[in-house]
C-alpha cells in the first residue's frame, strides 16, 4: 500500500467536503486507461501484484481497441495537505467516461455526475476533435478543468507546444498545465493533489428526499443489472425500496456499495457520493442512464434535469449468413439488449438475405461494436447491410412515410424527402484543409467556419447530411489525411434534399440488400460502383447475368457477367481420384454458402464485400 493511501473514509457517512468527483476526458489512445491504472496503484486500491494493464476496461473489445464503451466509477482514498494545513484523507471518485462520439449522451450524464474533469492530451499529438467535443460538454456542465499532458516520456513529445495550445483553448497559463506519464507514473501524485485542490466538493441537501442520478447501467450475467449512481440529495440505504422517476417503477435494493475497484457493499450512499445499486432487475432498460432514483417511501417531487431517451441515428439490417442461425441471432440480440439500452431492433425479411433484424444504433461505432460482439461473444456469422439514416418521405398525396430502410421507400411520385443533418467538426493539421474541404464538398457539406488551434492545426465546422457521413466518410477522411484528421458530429435538425432510391438488379430481380437512398447527383456513381463491384464478385454462371442499377423503372447503369464456358479439369493425375473428389467436396461446400437470387448463385462473401466495399479480400477466397 502506498504511504499516500491511508485508511479510507467510510462510505455513507463521508463529509461531502472530503469528496472529489472527477472524470478524465481524453481521446482514444491518449493514455487514459494507463493513467487510471497508475492512480489505482498509487492510491493502493489495486495492489501491484493484482495490477493488469487497463484494469477498468472490462470487455475484450474495449481492451483491444483501447477505448472505453461503458463507464464505471472507482472510489480511491487519497491523503493530501494541499487544502488543509495537515494531511487530510479524501475520497476521490473517478468516473470513467465513454470516449466516443456515438455515446455523447452517456458522456454528458457521466460529466453531470462530476464537479471536475481532467483534460488529458497526448503530449506528442495534441487535442483531437472528440476530446474537444467532450470538453465543450464539460464546460457546459460547469466542470473545473484540469489540463494535463500525458506521455511526456515519449521521444516525440512536445509538451511546450501543446501546453501552449491547451492554455489558449481553456484560458490560463501554460505553466499550469500538468505533465505526467501514465506509463512511468511521473507526475501522477501531483495530479491527484491537484484534483483535491481544484475540484469543488459536491453540495447537496442531506435532509431532502433522496435523488440519485443514474450515469451508467451495466448488465452482469450473475448479478443482473448493476446501476451506477451519483447521490445528489439525501441518501440511500440497503433494503430500501426505490423508485425510478421516469417510469415510476419500484424495486428493492438488494445491494448498495462502492467500487474500489471491485464492488464492495456499504451501509449506503450519502450526499455527493458515487456508487452502485443492485435490485435484481434483468434489463438495463429498467434502469436508464440519466434517470433519477428516489425512495418509494419519501419520493422526491422533481427529477434531476437532463434525462432523454436514447434516439437511434443509424440503421442497418443484420442477417445470419446461415439462415438456420436466425433463432440464435434473435437470442443474441435479446441478450445484448440487456446491457445496451440504446440498441433496438425488429424482425425484417430480405429477399436476398432471408430473415434478419432491422437494428437502430446511436452511430457507426455503436453499430460496429454490436456486430463485433455478435460475432465474438455469440460466435455468429452475420452480414450487415449498408447503414442508413431516417428519412421522412412526403408523397404526392401529402402523406409522410418514415423510412429507415431503402425497401420502405415509397414507389409512387414523391413530393419531398427530408434527411437528418449534423454539425460536424473536423480537426486536422492545416496542410490537409484543402483535401478535407474537397471531401466534405463532395459529401454535400456546407462550411460553417474554421478555427485555428495553436499555429498549425485547424478545426473545420461543417453542416452535412448524416447519410453522407455513415457511408464510408470516416474511412475516406482518415485515408486522405494519413490518419491525422479526427471527427465529431452532433445532430442539427433536418433538411429537404433531392434524394432517390437506387435499386440493383441481378438478371432483372431487385436485390433489396443493395438498394440505397442517395442524392440524385450521385445515383449514377452509386449504380456504376455497385454494378462494377458485383461484376467482380459474383462468379460466372452457366448463363449470362446482366447487372443493372435503376431509379424506379429507369436503368442508369449496366454490367454483364459472361456465361461460364469451362470448369472441367483436364487430367486425372495418374489415378489420383482422391484429389478430384476432394475438389468436388470443396465445391459442394462452397455452394452451401451461396444465396440464390432468382437463378443466380451469389456467394456470401460477395454480399459482405459489396456491402463493405472490400472487394479485394473476397476475391482472394
Amino acid at each position: 500500500m502506498s504511504p499516500r493511501a491511508p485508511i479510507p473514509l467510510e462510505p455513507a457517512s463521508t463529509d461531502p467536503a472530503r469528496i472529489r468527483n472527477f472524470c478524465i476526458i481524453a481521446h482514444i489512445d491518449h493514455g487514459k486507461s494507463t493513467l487510471a491504472d497508475r492512480m489505482l496503484q498509487l492510491t493502493g486500491v489495486v495492489s501491484d501484484r493484482d495490477m493488469r494493464a487497463q484494469y477498468l476496461d472490462r470487455m475484450d473489445i474495449e481492451r483491444e481497441r483501447g477505448i472505453t464503451i461503458k463507464s464505471q466509477a472507482v472510489r480511491m482514498p487519497w491523503s493530501s495537505s494541499v487544502v488543509e494545513p495537515v494531511a487530510t484523507t479524501y475520497a476521490l471518485n473517478m468516473i470513467d467516461t465513454p470516449g466516443h462520439v456515438d455515446f455523447t449522451y452517456e458522456v454528458s450524464r457521466s460529466l453531470a455526475a462530476c464537479e471536475g474533469a481532467i483534460l488529458l492530451v497526448d503530449a506528442a499529438q495534441g487535442i483531437e476533435a472528440q476530446t474537444l467535443a467532450n470538453l465543450y460538454l464539460a464546460l457546459a456542465n460547469d466542470l473545473e478543468i484540469i489540463p494535463v499532458l500525458n506521455k511526456i516520456d515519449l521521444p516525440a513529445a512536445d509538451p511546450d507546444k501543446y501546453a501552449e495550445e491547451l492554455a489558449q483553448l481553456i484560458g490560463g497559463d501554460p505553466a499550469d498545465v500538468l505533465r505526467v506519464s501514465g506509463k512511468t507514473g511521473e507526475g501522477v501524485e501531483a495530479l491527484l493533489d491537484r484534483v483535491v485542490e481544484r475540484v469543488p466538493a459536491p453540495t447537496g441537501d442531506a435532509s431532502a428526499p433522496a435523488r440519485a442520478m443514474i450515469f451508467d447501467s451495466v448488465y452482469d450475467s450473475y448479478r443482473g443489472v448493476v446501476t451506477y449512481v451519483r447521490m445528489v440529495d439525501g441518501g440511500l440505504r440497503p433494503r430500501e425500496r426505490i423508485q425510478m422517476m421516469s417510469t415510476r417503477a419500484t424495486h428493492d435494493i438488494l445491494e448498495i456499495g462502492v467500487s474500489s475497484p471491485e464492488p464492495t457493499p456499504t451501509h449506503g450512499l450519502g450526499v455527493g457520493e458515487v456508487g452502485y445499486l443492485i435490485t435484481g432487475v434483468k434489463d438495463v432498460r429498467q434502469s436508464k442512464v440519466g434517470d433519477t432514483v428516489t425512495t418509494a417511501a419519501k419520493a422526491a417531487t422533481a427529477a434531476l434535469p437532463g434525462y432523454t431517451e436514447p434516439l437511434p441515428m443509424v440503421f442497418s439490417g443484420i442477417y445470419p449468413i446461415d439462415g438456420s442461425d436466425y433463432p440464435e441471432l434473435r437470442d443474441a440480440l435479446d441478450k445484448l439488449k440487456l446491457s445496451d439500452a440504446a440498441l433496438n431492433y425488429e424482425p425484417e425479411t430480405s429477399v436476398a438475405l432471408g430473415f434478419g433484424f432491422r437494428c437502430g444504433f446511436l452511430g457507426l461505432l455503436h453499430l460496429e461494436i454490436v456486430t463485433e460482439r455478435l460475432q465474438r461473444e455469440f460466435d455468429l456469422d452475420i452480414i450487415t447491410t449498408a447503414p442508413s439514416v431516417v428519412y421522412a418521405v412526403r408523397t404526392e398525396d401529402k402523406k409522410t412515410v418514415t423510412v429507415t430502410n431503402p425497401s420502405e421507400f415509397p414507389g409512387g411520385k414523391i413530393d419531398a424527402v427530408s434527411e437528418p443533418v449534423v454539425k460536424a467538426s473536423i480537426l486536422a493539421p492545416k496542410d490537409y484543409v484543402g483535401t478535407i474541404m474537397e471531401l466534405c464538398q463532395s459529401r454535400r457539406g456546407t462550411l460553417g467556419g474554421m478555427d485555428y488551434l495553436g499555429s498549425d492545426r485547424v478545426e473545420l465546422h461543417y453542416t452535412m447530411p448524416l447519410g453522407e457521413i455513415v457511408f464510408d466518410f470516416f474511412d475516406q477522411l482518415k485515408s486522405r489525411t494519413a490518419g491525422y484528421a479526427s471527427l465529431d458530429y452532433e445532430p442539427a435538425g433536418e433538411q429537404e434534399a433531392d434524394l432517390v432510391k437506387v435499386d440493383i438488379l441481378l438478371q432483372g430481380e431487385t436485390v433489396d440488400a443493395f438498394s440505397a437512398i442517395v442524392h440524385r447527383d450521385k445515383a449514377y456513381a452509386y449504380g456504376t460502383m455497385m454494378a462494377g463491384r458485383l461484376r467482380e464478385l459474383i462468379p460466372r454462371q452457366q448463363f449470362e447475368v446482366p447487372i443493372q442499377a435503376a431509379i424506379g423503372a429507369r436503368i442508369i447503369a449496366r454490367e454483364n457477367i459472361r456465361a461460364m464456358r469451362k470448369d472441367v479439369l483436364a487430367k486425372c493425375y495418374g489415378g489420383d481420384i482422391t484429389r478430384k473428389r476432394k475438389l468436388l467436396e470443396k465445391q459442394k461446400e462452397g455452394k452451401k454458402r451461396m444465396k440464390m437470387v432468382g437463378r443466380v448463385e451469389v456467394p456470401q462473401e460477395a454480399f459482405i464485400a459489396a456491402l463493405s466495399g472490400d472487394t479485394e479480400s473476397a476475391k482472394k477466397k
Partner: protein
C-alpha cells in the same frame, strides 16, 4: 501425378488389404502403372513427381528398376493374400517423368516382372510414354520386342514458340520420324497435345492439331494447360511475366479440337481423349474412369483395388528406403464407403462417352437430368436409354454437371 499427395488414413506397413477388396474382383480388370520419376529437364508447367538429377539423395537412377521390380513382387504377395491375385494383367502403363530415360533393358525387366507376377492377358495393352527426343528407331524396336504394344508421344505442340513457352526441348520435325519408327516396329501410336499455353493463339492450336492429324495417329490426347501451384509457371503468372491461360479461350480451343478431330474421323471417349475406333481407346486410361483395379508402382504412384485407394511415398529416396527394408511404400490410404464410391462413380463416369448409368443416381439427381438435357449439357437420346452422357458443352462444364447430379 501431382506434387502434393492427399491426406488419408495410415497405411499398414506390410501393405495388407482388407478382405472387402475381393468382392466382385473377378469382374474387374487388373492394370499396372509403372512410374519412372526422372526427366532430363523439368518443364515449367509440370508438377508431376519427377526429378532431373542422376542421383537423388543417394538413390541412383540405375538402381530404380530393381526397386520397382521389388514392389511388383510385393504387390503380387499382397494381392494373393487378399485373394485377388489370380487375374492376368490386362493393361500396363509406363508413365512419368520420362520412362524412356531408363535403358530399354530396364523397362523390359520391369515388364517381365509384371509378367512373372500375374501373367499378361493375350490382348494386353502395354503403353509407354516417350518424348520425341528420348527415343530412336532402335529403342522403339527394342520396346516392341520386349512386349510394349503402344507408345504415347509427348508432342504437345507443333509451333516452336508454344514449345518454347512449355520448355519442351524437342524439334517439331522429329515427330514424323519417331511416329514412322513406331509404326515400323508395329506399335500403336498416340500423340499428346497441350493447349492454352500463354501466348498460344487459336491458329497456333489448329496448326498443332493438323500436324498431329497428318501423322494419322490411332489416338490423340489433348490436355488444357493448368497452372499448378508450386510450378515455375505459377510463379511467372504470380509475377505477371506471363498471362495465365483464360478459361474462355481454353473452351474455344477445346471446341476447335473436338471439331477438327471429329471431322478427321476420331471420336471422343473421355473429356481429353479421342480415338480412331473403339479398339484404339486406351483401356488403361479408361480403367481410371470406370473403377477397375490398378496397382501403381513407384514413388508417389496411386493405386486402387476394390474400393481401397492408396498412394506411395513421394520422394524416391524415402521410397527406396521402404523397399530396401521390405516394407510397403504406401504413404496413406483411404477405404471408400458405399456413398463415397457412388459419388466417385458419378464424378468419373460422367466424363466418358460410355456415360453414367442412371441407377447410380439418387432420385434428386435423376430428376436433375431433365433440366441438364434442356440446358444442352447432357445428351437426350442416351439418357432415355438409361445413361448420362455429356454434350460438348457439358464436357466443358463437367464439374457443374457432376455437382448438379449430386444435389441432395
Amino acid at each position: 501425378m501431382p506434387s502434393t499427395l492427399p491426406a488419408g488414413d495410415p497405411a499398414p506397413a506390410d501393405g495388407t488389404l482388407p478382405a472387402s477388396v475381393a468382392v466382385g474382383a473377378e469382374a474387374r480388370d487388373l492394370g499396372v502403372y509403372l512410374h519412372v520419376p526422372f526427366c532430363r529437364v523439368r518443364c515449367g508447367y509440370c508438377d508431376f513427381n519427377t526429378y532431373t538429377a542422376d542421383e537423388v539423395r543417394g538413390v541412383r537412377r540405375e538402381d530404380y528398376a530393381d526397386q520397382a521390380i521389388a514392389e511388383v513382387r510385393m504387390a503380387r504377395e499382397i494381392l494373393a493374400r487378399a485373394g485377388v491375385g489370380t487375374r492376368p494383367v490386362s493393361t500396363v502403363f509406363f508413365g512419368g517423368g520420362t520412362p524412356t530415360l531408363l535403358p530399354v533393358a530396364d523397362l523390359a525387366r520391369m515388364l517381365d516382372a509384371v509378367r512373372g507376377a500375374w501373367g499378361l492377358a493375350p490382348d494386353a495393352e502395354v503403353t509407354t510414354e516417350a518424348n520425341p527426343d528420348s527415343v530412336d528407331r532402335e529403342a522403339l524396336r527394342a520396346l516392341a520386342a520386349a512386349g510394349v504394344t503402344r507408345v504415347s508421344f509427348g508432342m504437345q505442340s507443333a509451333v516452336p514458340h508454344v514449345l518454347a513457352t512449355l520448355e519442351r526441348t524437342h524439334d517439331p520435325d522429329r515427330v514424323p520420324l519417331v511416329v514412322g519408327w513406331a509404326r515400323e516396329a508395329g506399335l500403336a501410336v498416340s500423340l499428346d497435345l497441350i493447349y492454352g499455353a500463354p501466348g498460344e493463339t487459336a491458329e497456333d492450336w489448329e496448326r498443332s492439331l493438323e500436324a498431329a492429324l497428318a501423322q494419322h495417329p490411332d489416338h490423340v490426347s489433348a490436355y488444357a494447360l493448368i497452372v499448378e501451384q508450386g510450378t515455375r509457371l505459377a510463379r511467372q503468372v504470380a509475377r505477371g511475366e506471363v498471362v495465365a491461360p483464360d478459361d474462355d479461350l481454353q473452351a474455344e480451343l477445346y471446341e476447335r479440337a473436338d471439331a477438327l478431330l471429329t471431322a478427321a474421323g476420331y471420336s471422343w471417349y473421355e473429356v481429353s481423349n479421342w480415338a480412331r475406333s473403339a479398339a484404339d481407346r486406351s483401356r488403361h486410361n479408361l480403367s481410371y474412369w470406370t473403377g477397375q483395379d490398378w496397382w501403381g508402382i513407384g514413388p508417389g504412384a496411386h493405386s486402387h483395388v476394390g474400393g481401397v485407394r492408396w498412394w506411395n511415398l513421394k520422394h524416391p529416396a524415402a521410397y527406396a528406403d521402404r523397399i530396401r527394408a521390405g516394407l510397403s511404400p504406401a504413404h496413406a490410404r483411404e477405404l471408400l464407403d458405399d456413398e463415397t464410391r457412388r459419388v466417385e462413380r458419378v464424378l468419373l463416369e460422367t466424363r466418358i462417352a460410355g456415360g453414367l448409368p442412371l441407377e447410380a443416381l439418387e432420385p434428386a439427381g435423376r430428376a436433375e437430368v431433365a433440366a441438364l438435357i434442356a440446358e444442352g449439357l447432357v445428351e437426350g437420346r442416351p439418357a432415355i436409354h438409361g445413361r448420362v452422357v455429356p454434350t460438348l458443352r457439358g464436357r466443358l462444364l463437367a464439374d457443374t454437371v457432376v455437382r448438379r447430379l449430386l444435389t441432395d
